[in-house]
């Protein structure tokens, strides 16, 4: 049985009526390695340029070429950019999946397809638009390799016509996408036009879907979370990067390398003000980061689940020796190798308690590309301020998909290098003791090699305040208690949640990361369809700040919505809440590898409420 988008999605068929403007999803089903990415991004961008909110989600296989892949573009006049389950407009290019792709469309959908696939007769409740791609591409180029590639631009042309997408915007988007490659632009433009003209001449509009200009994307940009995080790292003043390739994290470091190369050469010497090392594995990657941080660099690594597991021992070393480290976890689906090209929020619990012994780490929880950017900076500042590893828990959906955003803002605060011992401080505190809690916040002062301050000996074994080896019970317990105190300080420093307390709402929802976008939509659905108001708290960090508990207190029931099986964030919350709060907590989980959608949340929440009432 072949893997198809429809099988991978849970279909909810629905009947269609009248004209549908700026509120539908286009899905291009093709084969990976066939070069459809340009065509898809051009389509996405053209709609965006017309002022219509869009989002693009790529569902690709964990191989390089030849397997089915689906790209979904959602236009949403209301600005919903989470996943939507139903495909309204299909472009069926892949013979292997075409049948199932068509069969799982909702009633009233439309499908452009490659004519030889003969899909027309599969259903009578779907509008079909056959397109003879091979015939149309023939006059455009003689090069067989190029034909295979440029073929995709034809469906862009067809769609432009059928969906009323402005051809001028298509061309602008294409030029944006291809840069200065004039030959390629010319070729693609002819394919685009060929598609458009074919549709104009041959395909009467029979479906209700159209794009009309709006002004809802003005001043906005389109980018991936990993690119935003990379920019954030550069602006955070990163000086040391060590990484090991892994999907879906690689593009973070690869973008970062590009930016650093361009913008972080010393203007006088032309030399790099950073080092990037492709490590031999994730153990070494984090080891290098810890070594670099220990001598005072702003150091980071980026990885995904399997890398997180491998980093466990070093994470504990960082915690106990109190060396800063920034670790991006672009989460994918586990357990084990799992589904490397699918999305999840599945490493929350293991990252929070990564390593044996009593170890705990702060987590930052970006849910937008702009937070990928800002939290990258937060992470460096926090790691150095707290002198501990800090994890930024992004995911594949956020990291690798293309999102709308307002332009990233230049940082307002200077870089925070944390508590470094200097002459003045030394005078004030009298004596340097690496692990002494001078200020009552659990955070000690540190020195680095070459700074002229007293040296100390860092060790993962037991130590006293002055960093000397110690097996004494009192030294040990004091140190562990101070580390716990430091974690309480972290609670006061991490980003606070975003809260929308709705007056009169008895039900609250807590979510984090990309789950946010489904909540936004679900709240509107519940309000519109059921008159149900929900208060909402979006977590932005672990440890939880007092606002979280306060929020729970103000609700009668609170659902924690997340994208994993084991209710991992809920587990962390349960460890910290009061009995009264605990009693209010419910769980909605989504774990199929695809981003959570608003409708699923709505359905699940109503089901839970139903049960609640039945009780």
């Amino acid at each position: 049985m072949s893997v198809t988008a429809s099988a991978v999605q849970e279909t909810i068929p629905q009947a269609r009526t009248a004209r549908v403007v700026n509120d539908f999803a286009i899905q291009v089903a093709t084969v990976n390695g066939s070069g459809s990415q340009t065509a898809n991004l051009v389509l996405l961008r053209a709609i965006f340029q017309m002022g219509v909110p869009v989002s693009g989600k790529n569902m690709f296989p964990s191989n390089i070429a030849g397997l089915p892949t689906w790209y979904t573009i959602r236009a949403s006049s209301k600005g919903y950019i989470g996943r939507k389950k139903e495909v309204d407009f299909l472009v069926a290019m892949n013979p292997e999946t075409a049948r199932e792709d068509v069969l799982t469309l909702p009633r009233g959908a439309a499908a452009v397809y490659d004519e030889p696939l003969k899909l027309k007769d599969l259903r009578s409740d779907v509008v079909f638009y056959p397109v003879p791609f091979d015939k149309l591409i023939t006059p455009i180029t003689h090069d067989a390799k190029l034909r295979r590639l440029v073929r995709n631009m034809i469906y862009d042309g067809v769609l432009a016509k059928l969906l009323s997408i402005d051809m001028a915007q298509m061309e602008r988007a294409l030029r944006k996408q291809l840069g200065k490659k004039e030959k390629a632009i010319a070729l693609n433009l002819s394919a685009l036009t060929a598609g458009y003209e074919y549709a104009e001449a041959t395909l009467p509009k029979l479906d209700p879907f159209v794009i009309e200009p709006m002004n809802k994307t003005h001043g906005m940009i389109l980018l991936e979370g990993n690119a935003a995080a990379a920019i954030g790292c550069m602006m955070a003043g990163v000086t040391f990067v060590s990484w090991y390739p892994i999907t879906p994290s690689s593009s973070l470091c690869e973008s970062l390398i590009d930016y650093l190369k361009k913008y972080r050469k010393d203007p006088e010497t032309g030399k790099a003000t950073y080092a990037v090392i492709q490590a031999e594995d994730e153990i070494a990657a984090l080891g290098m980061v810890i070594g670099a941080s220990w001598v005072g660099a702003r150091a980071m690594t980026s990885t995904s689940g399997p890398g997180i597991s491998l980093m466990a021992e070093f994470a504990g070393l960082g915690y106990y020796t109190e060396v800063p480290a920034v670790i991006f976890d672009i989460q994918r689906v586990g357990p084990s190798t799992g589904l490397p090209t699918r999305t999840a929020q599945q490493d929350i619990l293991s990252a929070a308690v990564l390593s044996h012994g009593d170890t705990k780490h702060p987590l930052l929880l970006p849910s937008s590309v702009s937070e990928c950017y800002s939290m990258a900076m937060d992470a460096f500042d926090l790691a150095e301020r707290l002198q501990t590893p800090v994890f930024v828990m992004s995911d594949l959906d956020l990291g690798m998909n293309t999102w709308m955003s307002y332009p990233l803002e230049y940082p307002k605060k200077p870089i925070d290098r944390g508590k470094r011992l200097d002459e003045a401080t030394l005078e004030r505190i009298g004596e340097f003791a690496r692990y002494r809690d001078v200020d009552g916040d659990g955070i000690p002062y540190r020195t680095v090699p070459g700074d002229g301050m007293p040296a100390y000996f860092a060790r993962g074994s037991g130590h006293n305040e002055t960093a000397q080896y110690s097996e004494r019970a009192d030294d040990y317990a004091n140190n562990l208690d101070r580390l716990a105190r430091k974690f309480e300080t972290a609670r006061t420093l991490v980003p606070k949640p975003e809260i929308d307390l709705v007056r009169g709402a008895r039900i609250g929802v807590i979510a984090y990361g990309t789950t946010h976008w489904a909540i936004v939509e679900s709240r509107d659905q519940l309000k519109a369809e059921h008159g149900l108001d929900l208060s909402y708290l979006r977590l932005r960090a672990f440890p939880f700040t007092p606002e979280v508990f306060d929020f729970i207190d103000r609700c009668d029931r609170v659902y924690l919505v997340e994208q994993n099986r084991d209710a991992q964030m809920l587990s962390l919350l349960q460890m910290e809440c009061t009995p009264a709060q605990f009693a209010k907590l419910g769980s909605i989980r989504h774990y199929i590898g695809l981003p959570i959608d608003g409708r699923s949340v709505t359905t699940e929440l109503l089901k839970h409420e139903e049960e609640e009432r039945a009780r």
């Binding site: 000086t239 080092a275 990233l408």
Partner: protein, 351 residues
């Protein structure tokens, strides 16, 4: 074993070295290793080498993994920053530290278990990168700290006190290091203070990876007859390859040494190292000769000691990275956070 009787510049009678420090400034905490442990002798030689070279200890970083040997950095250069990391992973921590502050002199201390077993992967990659570091394996053929199990450098056929016989061939760290790209590879013996100190001083002055496998008997668990890494065995089988003498550029004294068959190698800092050739045609600058020597001596159950291989001009990892001369670790915000124009330029690409 704690003093060196050879006359060395600066003379041992002198209290202060060229930067005006006394030997005490190079010492560390009191050792907690067994009395007579080879590792303690190596610690002494490290102390002497840094003292005699007149290196500012605050410009040194000391790194190690886990093991008896890996405790050693706590026992020398107490005014240098040190990092006793996790088992077998010192190479990565050292790589980060050295790259992030290129001005520091790095000394890594490891054990044969720490390097040869759990750490062999990181060892391979550090050697390949030719990271500037003095990488010392305190090699006793066993896991001292966990009470004497065989390590991967235990010799075929050697026996534990419990009677267990090792039936796997040893890994030769020197041969591997040469094969992988280390630019300075030597072997010595903790019981040979003169040679060890000379090699250490040469290694400290070398730029690139200086890997020294120091046979360092574990008196508690691996100093019995079945073991080939005991004092008695090594004393009998140690085949000195070259008598090594190091001449620091600030005080050139060569007169003390036999001017016989020698070859001179110039190190990156201008200092010279003089090797007395033992084998007729031995070239420490030729990889194949070094490997052949190692194979031949090993197959005779002997240890070739001395500087086995040296490639003084090889680019080290820092060169390859093309980083600023100023340490990355201390770059000011002005150099690490690009201005608003850069962000604007980037934002334009996403419009």
């Amino acid at each position: 074993m704690s003093t060196d009787t050879t006359v060395q510049p600066p003379a041992p009678g002198k209290k202060l070295n060229r930067i005006g420090l006394e030997p005490l400034a190079y010492r560390g905490g009191k050792t907690t290793l067994c009395a007579g442990c080879g590792h303690n002798a190596i610690t002494e030689r490290i102390i002497e080498s840094f003292f005699e070279l007149g290196i500012d200890p605050t410009q040194v970083i000391k790194l190690s993994g886990i093991g008896c040997s890996s405790k050693a950095p706590a026992y020398f250069l107490s005014s240098a920053h040190g990092f006793n990391s996790v088992h077998g992973r010192m190479p990565s921590v050292a790589t980060g530290a050295v790259v992030a502050n290129r001005t520091m002199i790095a000394v890594g201390v490891s054990g044969d278990g720490d390097t040869g077993a759990i750490g062999i992967g990181q060892f391979v990659h550090l050697m390949r990168r030719n990271l500037p570091i003095v990488y010392i394996i305190e090699d006793n053929g066993c896991y001292g700290l966990t009470k004497g199990q065989f390590s991967p450098t235990a010799d075929l056929g050697s026996t534990l006190k419990t009677g267990v016989v090792n039936d796997l061939p040893p890994i030769d760290a020197c041969a591997l290091a040469i094969e992988l790209g280390a630019s300075f590879v030597a072997r010595s013996f903790s019981g040979d203070p003169k040679q060890l100190k000379a090699i250490l001083k040469a290694a400290i002055s070398h730029r690139g990876t200086a890997m020294i496998d120091v046979i360092s008997p574990c008196v508690t668990f691996n100093d019995h007859e079945g073991s080939t890494k005991s004092y008695s065995y090594v004393k009998d089988h140690d085949e000195p390859l070259a008598d090594v003498s190091f001449v620091p550029f600030f005080e050139q004294v060569t007169a003390e040494y036999d001017p016989g068959a020698t070859i001179a190698v110039t190190l990156h800092n201008g200092s010279k190292i003089v090797l007395r050739k033992m084998a007729e045609d031995y070239q420490p600058t030729d990889k194949m000769s070094a490997l052949r020597l190692l194979h031949e001596t090993m197959s005779r159950g002997e240890y070739a000691t001395g500087i086995l291989y040296i490639e003084p001009d090889k680019q080290d990892f820092i060169d390859l990275l093309g980083i600023t001369d100023e340490p990355l670790a201390t770059l000011p915000e002005a150099k690490t956070r690009p201005g608003k124009a850069v962000l604007d330029e980037i934002m334009d690409t996403f419009q």
